[in-house]
Symmetry: C3
Subunit: 337 residues, 3 copies
């Protein structure tokens, strides 16, 4: 399904492909946790082309490739590149695809990565094309939902998901909607200020999939029945006025008290990160950090698993991972003093 193909969008994925990918992602877990190591991609080269800077996603893709034994060549930023001198994305792709076995590309323009892929002679993974798509994020979000449900003894059939915050501008929420539409009969709560409601296009997508949708702006009601809460950042700069923005300030805040008072006992909290931790952010308080359901760092760790799986499936080595198994010979993690 993935072998020798681009991954440009989540919109052409089906459940079979996703299940295959997630199975491989689980195979990757002991390697990512350093219980053992593999050199299956030794000698392979990733072109990690970030024409828009991003520490988190760039390093996550690069580390995932390294964990499979491959090498990473990188670029960050657009200003000095040949693209700035009028080179077409087609030409850039022709050139760069002569330098690597697979390319991850991020670019600020929507659909630029698709255009780039048409000129590439090697598979291209969309690492984010501006406001359009960021498929590996959607996949790691879905993988996390599925994993977290399993952790609390539940399945996708029992999913009750609350999207919380700025649902209008949150790219990760939109992409995740496409994947959720592949599953049957989910209960979905959309909680946002009216001005930041999920665009009708995505509401239709979800309801055409047969999901049960509740739309509202009441936090306590919206989170009360959810086993998964997906919080996003309130992007204050998009409100009409500061006054308007202030109306919602602290309204969609999750902290330990609200969580304890209104959520199901095992409710899982997710967030696409970065979380704004400045004093007046009122987003997702640090007092939640030790809650068992607080999954935002498990979510980012899952990103490595999903990206390893993408590389392994696209380069068709997913059945050879354990052929080059070794034990890890170094100290893993921290020791108590």
């Amino acid at each position: 399904m993935f072998s020798g193909q681009h991954l440009l969008s989540v919109q052409n994925l089906n459940l079979e492909a996703i299940n295959e990918l997630f199975t491989v992602a689980e195979v990757m877990r002991p390697y990512a946790k350093r219980e053992k190591m593999t050199r299956v991609l030794e000698g392979a080269v990733l072109g990690n082309m970030f024409f828009e800077p991003s520490t988190r996603t760039r390093v996550s893709f690069g580390s995932a490739f390294n964990l499979l034994g491959g090498e990473v060549r990188e670029t960050t930023g657009l200003s000095n590149s040949a693209l700035a001198k009028g080179e077409s994305l087609y030409d850039t792709a022709q050139v760069l695809s002569g330098y690597s076995d697979i390319i991850v590309m991020r670019h600020p323009q929507p659909f630029s990565v698709q255009e780039f892929a048409e000129g590439s002679r090697v598979p291209v993974i969309n690492g984010g094309d501006g406001p359009n798509e960021h498929p590996s994020q959607a996949l790691l979000d879905l993988f996390t939902i599925s994993n977290e449900l399993a952790r609390i003894g539940q399945t996708m059939q029992q999913l009750s998901l609350t999207f919380l915050g700025d649902l209008k501008n949150g790219r990760t929420v939109h992409s995740l909607c496409y994947l959720l539409a592949l599953f049957p009969n989910i209960r979905i709560q959309l909680v946002s200020p009216e001005a930041l409601a999920l665009p009708q296009k995505y509401v239709d997508l979800l309801s055409n999939a047969g999901h049960q949708i509740e739309i509202g702006s009441n936090l306590e009601k919206g989170i009360s029945q959810a086993n998964i809460i997906y919080q996003t950042r309130i992007q204050e700069e998009r409100f009409e006025s500061e006054q308007e923005a202030n109306r919602y300030k602290g309204y969609f805040r999750l902290n330990k008290k609200i969580y304890s008072d209104h959520c199901l006992p095992n409710a899982v909290i997710m967030h696409p990160l970065p979380r704004d931790s400045r004093n007046d952010a009122n987003e997702l308080d640090n007092d939640l950090n030790k809650e068992p359901g607080f999954a935002i760092f498990r979510q980012t760790d899952n990103g490595v698993l999903v990206r390893m799986a993408l590389f392994a499936c696209i380069l068709n080595v997913h059945k050879q991972i354990s052929d080059s198994d070794r034990s890890v010979n170094w100290q893993v993690g921290l020791k108590p003093k």
Copy 2:
């Protein structure tokens, strides 16, 4: 010839050295095409020091080193480096040469790389010192000419080369002239606006080498007998006025119609890249992309071969490449859906 030496200029190369290098470059082809892999430089470290940004050349050198099994440490940009605090190139070289086995250096100042090399304890490859030299580009251009001639069943003895465009400012054309001067009896056509003619110094170099030179500004005439056409960008910003620049606009344009009407059937088109593909560039049209003679991406692919060969020859591993041969275990390139 290359072992343990710097490569700072093409001016001290002789035909024997070039032939040795190109023979090694051909040995590299199956590794670059991923028909097999080598780990001959496993454990070696390249210092890929780009004190002037360049995505294309930087990644090409880095990938070439990775393809031989080595590791790459990099820097991009000048502003925050110790050089900006008054450190001499000698000191920078002393320091950086303690960190790697070989260094590629690009720097905006002419002859800076030569100065740097005097302080280095490891071999230095000039990756471009401003308007002065860029030896690996000249070598990959010559390698491409030789290869493309072979592809159409001809040899260097039959070379009829047209340089087209801004021959005054094109560094790649100047460097290539030094290499062409090593060969006997080439027919060379120089086609440019008068204001952008090849400087007399290079015309003398070529005619002292015994080459047959025709100088003109008529595109159709200039390209009609060439088996290799080397197109460069018309650098409009260098003309005295926009009107003057506009005089030549579209004049040195190559497109499918001009190519079909005026060129030899198998004529090869080269370009140092990036090609300006904006609507009003009128440089090298995309409708040529599928022509068998359109060699600009084979040219950039050849850059990897030539750079692999440079590393292998300078580090003296070119006879051990196949000792660590392995087959490639991943999916190479794209699969049809």
Copy 3:
């Protein structure tokens, strides 16, 4: 001692730990000199996170990790990172520590690396937290002192050390004081303009350790009995006026004549680099470059040994280095033409 621990400061190190580290650093020498190679960290990933740019230190850490066989993921600069969007250092650490086995972090804010380490799930090495600490520099300085003394047939017991220049603002001098306080009975000369004297805190630290301290501003007297001279840059911008700065201009200059006239025959010259080599810098003249006691590039080379040792000890592979020994198969360094 180091295994599975952060290295955030030199202040919690003891002599036993330092001796262990320096013993391992000596083991690293043949690997750094390319007499043999090791792949002991093959498969391990370093997160080389430079949220403040630094070519020298960044590449030194990265190369040290590569020389042990590991892979390096990097970031340089602060502006576009999630930190700039209000992400806490705790969150950044949680995320990044899921991507690597060990992290080196540089950051412009004092104590930021300590805060970061609290959120990290893997060991963190402080690569410099603004004006506060830079422990690997202090360690490589001490290692160099010990090595240079051995080279001239002396030991730490015979150390007579002159700190020369701007002792008020030189972070490297301050950190080194903490390490020197661990040794008994050193003769230390502090030579600086009064306005740039070593802060009393560090003078007390040294004298409480029982060291014999002489404070002055006379260069010739200050350097006359030293076997180690540690020169720093006079940071002219910190003087009250240009006139004031000019008073000292050339006063703390070391050149061949001053060195020959006033220093002990084998006196060693050290400098934390970069050395300002502009014409009016008057710091450390290039005519000293060939003196046997001129140790500034041995000092920077030692940085690689000490950083290799830190990685090996923290990741607890220091006893396995030679298990994966191989001979080096490439040309090491330059050959005479």
